[in-house]
């Protein structure tokens, strides 16, 4: 299965001796088995993402975009194909090795915010640093810095249920960037927010992409949100049907 004739643009990977791309998916397939029934969610995905890109993945529900997201985020292993992250094959790593990659390389922002209610805002942001083996003042300082980045300085001692949904999502962004991860994965980050707060949240993704140079991979079914990206990838029935540069960016 190929990508249906969509031509990937030339990348540094094609240049001999050049740096490998940040992300390269090679014929990724994913088959879920529930009892005797198996379901093919991905049917051979090829994708290259360069360092510093802002890629939006669009598709209807059931199109396979969340599965791509889980594989790109090292939350799941593909059943076929290869996934090279910074040139290293990560498609067959153990769950602990994947955890290590998620900890060092990837930050997540989910639709449901996914903050731990029991922990204060700053403790939530510190969590990736904690699992990186960093404790103490240094971690707190980095978390405060990340909170400042999303304009939430001063809320650090509150708890998630004491702040609004938009603010909770910004805390999640702070948590995603706190360890200076080169890749930020955002799965429907505005899905639970109204358009004003959604736009507010998107502003920070843009900021992180432009100021910090982090690569952002955004999954959304909302064209307005997807348009914040610089490249739009459309997924349907487990294959990529188009990949195009977004020319005019809608600003809210």
């Amino acid at each position: 299965m190929n990508t249906g004739g969509i031509k990937e643009r030339a990348t540094s990977y094609d240049i001999p001796g050049g740096e490998p791309p940040l992300i390269r998916l090679e014929n990724i397939g994913m088959i879920y088995k529930i009892g005797d029934i198996s379901y093919e969610a991905l049917k051979g995905i090829n994708l290259i993402v360069e360092n510093g890109e802002f890629v939006s993945i669009m598709g209807a529900s059931g199109s396979g975009k969340s599965t791509i997201m889980n594989i790109l985020g090292c939350l799941d292993r593909p059943t076929a194909g290869k996934y090279f992250l910074e040139g290293k094959d990560v498609s067959n790593l153990t769950s602990d090795e994947l955890a290590e990659i998620r900890n060092k390389k990837i930050g997540f922002v989910f639709q449901g915010f996914n903050l731990i209610q029991r922990l204060s805002i700053v403790e939530n942001v510190e969590l990736p640093l904690y699992y990186a083996g960093m404790y103490s003042k240094e971690a707190t300082e980095m978390a405060m810095e990340a909170l400042k980045l999303v304009d939430l300085a001063g809320t650090e001692n509150k708890f998630p249920n004491q702040i609004s949904g938009g603010e909770q999502q910004r805390v999640a962004i702070a948590r995603a960037v706190v360890n200076n991860a080169p890749i930020i994965m955002a799965d429907e980050p505005t899905g639970n927010l109204d358009s004003v707060r959604g736009a507010d949240v998107m502003r920070f993704f843009k900021k992180i992409n432009e100021e910090r140079g982090a690569t952002i991979i955004l999954v959304s079914h909302d064209k307005n949100i997807a348009d914040y990206g610089k490249r739009l990838i459309t997924v349907k029935d487990g294959i990529i049907i188009s990949s195009a540069v977004i020319e005019s960016q809608s600003m809210v």
Binding site: G73, D96, E100, F108, N114, L127, G133
Partner: protein, 410 residues
């Protein structure tokens, strides 16, 4: 690096503590089993300790390092009688035993119940003929007046030392010293009162007695030349065994017993009896404590149950932690620490409850209880082990979760 590890552990503890505090009622109910288990272990062991202390002190009140020599049983035509029937022991046996190296002192005893009369008052009590060494052997000094001397024993003087109960019954509030009492119609001068001894292991009031010289007892009251028993005090605890064999050899020689014939006397080692009584008290304590330990196990199952519920409830949290980079061992550790903190908490509360129960038993019942540090440490360690053991399966389950599925959980 170890400092960091220590700090991380502290953070985990803090977080576990906070988690458990959020669900106070549930946490408390979860550890109720551990509280009851540890509490009953502490309480039962303290009762056992108290009982064995009580046994020890009763045995000590009979005299220290004591051996009792009793006349043998007779066997006539196949019918065997009990101990102390044959008149085989004499006062001279007692005097000979006193010279043995392992023996500190001895006292020939001859006792019988008799009516004692003072003026219009009378009281039936136990009259005991004894040697002048009686207070030393029985560890039973006089409270007032004096005990009779060896001289008075040799001369079979009509003097009596009375026990506290007998004194109260006969004389009431009057000081008995110097008064004349009649025993078996023989007049005796009261020269002393024994200190209060209390009840013995068989529930007899040891203070209900009158002690007179053994010779006087033999000649003027019982009309015999033998003694019921010889009480011997060995020089030390270790010497009781040596004394036992020395006495056996001596008495066999004195009684001209041929080699192939059995002894016509018995030597009883009270230290051994004390140890036997003590070990049966210990067995009882161990039995009770093991029953209590079963409830600790049941408490552990309660912890496992709640930890399983907690793991399911917090599937999403586990997913988040996995997403940000928690490894299997991190999740495992988190839940193990939680279950350990739970059970340790239960252990501490249980110890408090156990000490409380033990103190109330001491205060409101005749049983004396003694709380020692040993069961406290053991039950703390045990409850920690219960927490780790029963917390392991839920924690293991949590650590094996798939991050995608855990994050999808609502």
């Amino acid at each position: 690096m170890p400092k960091r590890v220590k700090f991380a552990f502290f953070l985990d503890l803090k977080s576990a503590y906070k988690t458990l505090l959020r669900n106070k009622i549930r946490s408390l109910l979860t550890i109720l089993g551990i509280i009851i288990g540890v509490g009953s272990v502490i309480a039962t062991v303290s009762i056992g300790q108290g009982a064995s202390e009580a046994i020890q002190s009763t045995i000590n009140s009979m005299g220290s390092n004591m051996l009792i020599i009793l006349p043998g049983s007779s066997s006539l035509g196949g019918v065997r009688t009990g101990f102390g029937i044959l008149p085989t022991l004499t006062l001279n046996d007692a005097y000979a035993i006193r010279k043995l190296p392992a023996v500190k002192t001895d006292s020939g005893n001859l006792g019988m119940a008799q009516q004692v009369i003072w003026r219009g008052n009378n009281w039936s009590t136990f009259i005991m003929g004894a040697s002048s060494t009686f207070p030393e052997i029985r560890d039973w000094p006089v409270a007032k007046g004096t005990f009779f001397t060896h001289q008075q024993v040799v001369s079979a003087a009509n003097v009596a030392v009375i026990g506290n109960t007998a004194a109260t019954e006969l004389f009431g509030l009057i000081n008995p010293i110097g008064h004349i009492i009649l025993i078996h119609n023989v007049p005796f001068t009261v020269i002393g009162i024994l200190s209060v001894k209390g009840f013995n292991a068989f529930g007899q009031d040891q203070d209900d007695t009158v002690v007179i010289p053994i010779t006087t007892m033999q000649e003027k009251i019982a009309g015999t030349t033998w003694v019921h028993a010889i009480a011997v005090s060995a020089k030390s605890k270790e010497d009781t065994v040596i004394a036992q064999s020395e006495i056996t050899a001596l008495l066999r020689q004195r009684h001209h017993i041929p080699l192939h014939k059995p002894n016509d006397f018995f030597v009883r080692n009270l230290t051994e009896i004390a140890q036997a009584a003590n070990s049966s008290a210990n067995t009882f304590t161990i039995l009770l404590a093991s029953i209590a330990a079963v409830s600790l196990l049941v408490g552990g199952i309660g912890i496992m149950n709640i930890m399983l519920v907690s793991v399911t409830e917090r599937t999403k949290e586990i997913g988040i932690r996995l997403a940000v980079g928690a490894k299997k061992k991190d999740i495992l550790k988190q839940f193990l620490i939680e279950s350990s903190v739970l059970s340790l908490f239960g252990g501490i509360l249980g110890i408090a409850a156990g000490i409380g129960i033990s103190n109330s038993i001491s205060a409101f019942s005749p049983l004396k209880t003694i709380v020692t540090t040993e069961p406290i440490i053991i039950s703390l360690v045990f409850s920690l082990c219960v927490g780790i053991f029963f917390g392991f399966y839920p924690a293991f389950k949590a650590s094996r979760m798939n991050p995608v599925e855990a994050l999808r959980y609502e």
